[in-house]
Subunit: 241 residues, 2 copies
């Protein structure tokens, strides 16, 4: 069994998504927010690339949808929700469909459309995600959102904890790529202070500057839920492994 990690949506490793189970990871914050939204009972999250696409889709959907968008960490103009998990409380989103566009996270789902299965993973649901992936019996590709195609520490540490859980749960012999070994190693380095890592990485510092420091405490919460956002017909919906 192959276990590989792409360090961004532009990593050539994304081209090997076909036939594999893919976990998309954007710790700060898209996949954390998506996990939280489904944990709090929203009907589903539709990740889209552009704001105009999001607006058109939100209008078109039967029964309406909440429009959520982020650009450069802030709530995008004209959106009801941004990309902060604190905005996704149960009263606001219960049973609602959410159309979400973010700078890196949601675009990453478009980079792996060839995959056999696609889920969203964050610290919040990492053990459940590992179980779900193991149950597929497929080779696994973890795709970090990164930032404009660049390496982000927090997503690779997120990949590392997922690999750690996969190796604990499964008795399969996984062949780890160089990038998968690196992710595992980085999780080992930072596992005792995940929040410190989130506060000290490049994008974490930027998020703090923008006033979202409280979000990082949510992002660092390991196994808050056993909900796995699974892509079904273009929508991420809640499943349990």
């Amino acid at each position: 069994m192959i276990l590989d990690v792409a360090f961004s949506r532009l990593d050539p490793a994304c081209r090997s998504a076909s036939g594999r189970a893919v976990a998309v990871i954007d710790v700060i914050r898209a996949t954390t927010t998506i996990t939280m939204a489904l944990h709090h009972g929203c009907a589903g999250v539709i990740p889209v690339r552009t704001l105009s696409e999001a607006m058109a889709l939100a209008r078109r959907l039967d029964g309406g949808a909440l429009l959520a968008g982020e650009r450069n960490a802030e709530k995008a103009k004209g959106c009801e929700l941004g990309n902060s998990p604190t905005e996704y409380g149960r009263p606001r989103i219960k049973d609602k469909m959410i159309v979400l566009t973010t700078t890196n996270g949601t675009r990453t789902f478009q980079a792996v459309t060839e995959a056999q299965a696609i889920i969203a993973c964050s610290f919040l649901n990492v053990t459940a995600a590992a179980r779900w992936l193991t149950n597929t019996g497929l080779d696994i590709l973890i795709v970090c959102a990164g930032r404009q195609g660049r390496f982000c520490l927090e997503d690779v540490v997120g990949s590392g904890i997922l690999i750690d859980r996969l190796l604990s749960i499964s008795d399969r012999a996984y062949m780890l790529s160089d990038s998968a070994r690196t992710a595992r190693q980085l999780f080992a380095t930072y596992q005792n202070d995940l929040l410190g890592m989130l506060r000290d990485c490049e994008w974490g510092k930027e998020i703090i500057r923008k006033g979202f420091e409280a979000d990082l405490e949510i992002c660092a919460h390991v196994d808050l839920t056993d909900i796995v956002p699974v892509m079904r017909e273009g929508r991420l919906v809640a499943e349990r492994p």
Copy 2:
């Protein structure tokens, strides 16, 4: 001072080469071989992209040049030398100009032509390279050759030892990017068994399968020389810091 690492020649970080001092690293094997060639007294190494370009240039050069080429680890057809440092002994290359094309390493130099200064770095000359870079007073970008745009463990560990040396030598306050921190961390992980790391990484295993295991012992040799291959008018020539 900025200290950044691009994990491959396709990493968007390469776009920030302008105005910086760039160290290209292809541990297995292009920059190891280039360092060895200059250490053994060749006149210079001209890295080029394609085999046909290499052949045309080798013919055109006054006084001739040795044609060196690698594709898929093997010596390329029609070339006098491959990409194994064992082929670059003093008797064969002393005072000769070498035109070299390899699958990933030599192409990486073309990804950073905007840089203020460009050198080749390997374990063989890492401390000298760190001194040379420090002397420029410039922001530093380390560019891993990687493999077809993908992450290679050995190049990132090579970046990590270079960062370790830069931080020891210089009293400047470097701002490390997430990728630079990762490289440093990986060097710390593997520093006591660099040869084992080279034998166990993806490309190292491939090199062993192809019959070049002896090359890895050369690639793992830290500070064999104080020669730094520096790009001057399209040629890498020997300098000392």
